[in-house]
């Protein structure tokens, strides 16, 4: 059993918490000791959201130490960049091609950096940077809100667990109306990530 530290980052309303809750439960079912904790801004919406999920033989701190994140799951591009320094050397950054421009940028503050700049930050910490076509997958499954399922699929491609462990949890968490599209999004996220991994593609 290898210890796994996952940092999921995004913006309020993107489904980060649901995904990290699921990941923690799946870890527990896989036999790990598990801790998870979220840091979210003061408002319900629109602030940065960060979830720490830790699987291990014996987990003490719920917060992951800087430089020890195995998987940085970015639901939004600049949020991924913001937390890049938490990556361990050789850690994996999986980022959705989603940009949500903060009010501070819109009203003439710090400009929103493009993917090239964001990539350069991530690449400073690891060579393994994957940019997922999340919007396209959302369209394909006709559920743009299934981003968190795409990201779950992406991480599943790296963790050697039975598919059924993931699907069982998704079935329990997602309302029936969105279940089919969610499962499809999960599978597509996993497939795309798998093929990127095999090709060694990092865009």
């Amino acid at each position: 059993m290898k210890d796994v530290n996952v940092l999921m980052v995004g913006v309020g309303g993107q489904g980060v918490i649901l995904a990290s809750d699921a990941l923690a439960e799946i870890g527990m079912k896989a036999g790990y000791d598990v801790k998870k904790t979220d840091s979210l801004g003061m408002a319900q919406r629109g602030g940065s959201v960060v979830s720490n999920v830790r699987w291990g033989q014996n987990v003490f701190s719920p917060m992951i130490k800087k430089g020890e994140v195995d998987f940085l799951i970015g639901f939004e591009e600049i949020e991924a960049a913001r937390w890049a320094s938490y990556l361990s050397p050789g850690g994996v950054a999986i980022v959705a091609d989603v940009t949500i421009i903060p009010v501070s940028s819109m009203s003439g503050g710090v400009p929103y950096p493009g993917w090239d700049k964001i990539k350069s930050i991530l690449a400073h910490y690891t060579e393994k940077v994957y940019l997922l076509p999340a919007a396209r997958i959302g369209e394909e499954v006709k559920n743009p809100r299934a981003l968190n399922m795409v990201m779950m699929g992406a991480i599943a491609a790296f963790l050697d667990l039975k598919d059924e462990l993931w699907l069982e949890d998704i079935r329990r968490k997602v309302p029936p109306k969105f279940l089919d599209s969610s499962i499809q999004a999960f599978h597509k996220g996993a497939q795309v990530t798998q093929s990127m991994k095999e090709k060694g593609v990092s865009r």
Binding site: M28, L40, M42, F60, S61, P62, K65, I101, S104, I121
Partner: protein, 600 residues
């Protein structure tokens, strides 16, 4: 059975499995989910009280009545409830009562940071502090046991990182088959605190703490973990977890009973190690306890007194203290790219946006750029005294509409004080419906009594929005969502003695402006109720708006609304139809009438 539970969920389950049947609270991050989880159990009573003081008093009533009780709140809530909390310590109880204080080191969602461990000591109430959800669950049983055995309330202290962290709980217990039946045991000597009785109880309180001091020495959850004897770490709460993470080989004394502390156990531990340090968040509370035992100890000279800990902070401090070798620094600095900050903001369709834009317009000189630096007001500006709630976010740009915010209910007192002190500018108080119920009513009564010409703007969104949409007497909405009797805001204000009461829609900018202008011009106490449902809680959705590209002159004035649905795409202002709930505030702001309904 193993379950992944947050600390708050574990508190609720632990209380349920300890036979607690009565729980009351006022919502406040990070404590809110305790009562929400507890209310899901069958056969228990759970209610939101109007404020923490009332929650404590209602809880006292239940416990005096022989029913095991839990009262929960955030750290600053215990300030509000301090009066009955201290009184409860004096009288003691009839059935177990646990008072939960969820502290917020780092002020994730609070107006201040405070270490409520001091309150246990001050109120002479035993205090328990868990280090993860498993301990939370087990500790709750002890809390009830201690409460009944020692005739005392127990302070159960959590912090954000205990309350909101999920970890595995092995659920080994079940609810006791029979819980105590309600019944009050009459004793004026115990429950009527006239001085002659209180003096006797005062002695009981000291005796209780003396007994507890001996009792905690054998408490099984205080634990010594023996490692390398060179360094002994005394710690509690979530700081224990960080310390274990950072010091792989040291010896540890984990304290779960933090008032009173097990003095002999501490002495024994200290004698076994070469050097003693204390690792604790916020104040040097344990450090002082250890030092008072005559033990040489260090702590706050290295570990921060401000803010929440994490493993990096503990590690960096340990390096500074020479307890760990300095880490190897990366050779190359990361690329210098500025990442824009992402502040929390009011939701799309939030009913607070319109009134706050009007306040900005009426209250601030638009020729002066907003700045946090102190500056005198010009004659025409108004002082906008605000309160605690979602609308407090209006202090941030682009709204930037508020001047003060201290604690629940203070907005009204602030305005009265400024006026009576002779501040020449007009004042208004901005307060939410839930906060008004919590502690605005007394301020308003004072305003009438003093005939203060202040205008109180009650932003009535029909819920306690900041904490996730709980009910309060103004909504009539009970814990289970059922609708019951409701306190009518207008009639309440009228009954208090306000003659000038105006009610306007939160989405009618002209009406809000006219009402505030008229009320602030008059020289008598006034109330403007700005009414519009919380768009998040009630899932409000009307026809979305869109930007007509032919009419838009790209002035970007609509960005001043700070609405998350207004976005810039391909260098043009657009409205995200999925996010827009059709409140129409941006439409009223646009000088070109370029924002129109989706269908048109």
């Amino acid at each position: 059975m193993k379950q992944l539970l947050s600390g708050n969920e574990a508190m609720a389950l632990g209380a349920y499995h300890s036979g607690v049947s009565f729980a009351t609270a006022y919502p406040g991050t990070p404590s809110t989910e305790i009562l929400e989880s507890f209310s899901q159990f069958k056969g228990v009573y759970a209610e939101w009280s109007i404020n923490e003081k009332v929650a404590m008093e209602v809880g006292m009533g239940a416990a005096y009545g022989g029913v095991r009780t839990m009262v929960s709140m955030k750290h600053v809530g215990l300030n509000v409830a301090a009066d009955p909390f201290f009184a409860l310590s004096t009288t003691g109880t009839n059935a177990g009562i646990v008072v939960i204080s969820c502290d917020d080191p780092g002020e994730h969602s609070s107006q201040g940071e405070q270490d409520n461990r001091h309150l246990a000591k001050m109120a002479k109430v035993p205090m328990l502090e868990p280090t993860d959800s498993q301990e939370v669950y087990e500790l709750m049983q002890w809390a009830i046991k201690i409460s009944e055995e020692f005739d005392t309330p127990v302070l159960f202290r959590s912090t954000t990182r205990i309350s909101h962290c999920k970890s595995i709980v092995d659920i080994t217990k079940d609810r006791p088959a029979e819980t105590k039946k309600p019944g009050f045991m009459r004793s004026s000597a115990k429950y009527v605190m006239v001085p002659s009785n209180a003096r006797v109880r005062r002695t009981n309180m000291e005796e209780r703490i003396t007994k507890l001091k001996a009792w905690v020495e054998d408490f099984p959850m205080n634990q010594i973990i023996r490692g390398d004897r060179k360094l002994g770490v005394i710690t509690s709460g979530v700081a224990y977890q960080y310390a274990r993470e950072v010091f792989k080989n040291a010896s540890f004394l984990k304290l779960v009973t933090t008032y009173p502390v097990p003095a002999n156990m501490i002495r024994k531990f200290a004698s076994e190690v070469d050097r003693v340090i204390v690792i604790e968040e916020n104040d040097p509370y344990l450090e002082e306890e250890v030092r008072m035992l005559g033990i040489k100890v260090s702590g706050k000279e290295f570990f921060p007194i401000i803010g929440e800990f994490n493993p990096e902070i503990v590690e960096a401090a340990a390096v500074k203290a020479g307890l760990l070798p300095a880490p190897v620094v990366a050779s190359k600095p990361p690329p210098a790219v500025q990442i824009p900050p992402r502040r929390p903001q009011l939701c799309a369709g939030c009913p607070h946006v319109g009134p706050e834009m009007i306040l900005r317009k009426l209250g601030f000189d638009s020729s002066i750029k907003p700045s946090p630096v102190l500056r005198p007001l010009t004659e025409k500006e108004m002082v906008i005294a605000a309160d605690i709630g979602c609308y407090t976010l209006g202090v941030y740009e682009p709204l930037g509409a508020l001047d003060t915010c201290a604690c629940m209910g203070a907005s009204i007192g602030h305005a009265i004080g400024m006026e009576k002190a002779g501040v020449p500018n007009k004042t208004v108080s901005v307060i939410g419906d839930s906060t008004f119920m919590h502690s605005g009513i007394t301020g308003l009564a004072d305003m009438v009594f003093k005939q203060s010409a202040n205008t109180v703007i009650i932003l009535d969104n029909g819920t306690t929005a900041m904490t996730g949409g709980q009910g309060h007497p103004g909504t009539g909405m009970a814990m289970d969502g059922s609708k019951g009797p409701q306190v009518n805001l207008e009639k309440l204000c009228e009954g208090i003695g306000i003659k000038d009461i105006k009610v306007v829609s939160a989405y009618d900018m002209a009406a809000i402006e006219a009402a505030i202008k008229a009320s602030t011009a008059a020289k008598e106490p006034s109330v403007v109720i700005v009414r519009g449902l919380c768009a998040l809680k009630f899932k409000v959705k009307n026809t979305s708006r869109r930007v007509d590209p032919d009419l838009c002159i790209d002035c970007r004035g609509c960005l001043d609304v700070g609405c998350p649905a207004i976005i810039i795409q391909n260098d043009a202002v657009q409205i995200d139809a999925a996010a827009c709930v059709g409140c129409g505030v941006c439409q009223q702001v646009c000088p070109q009438e370029a924002i129109v309904e989706m269908k048109s």
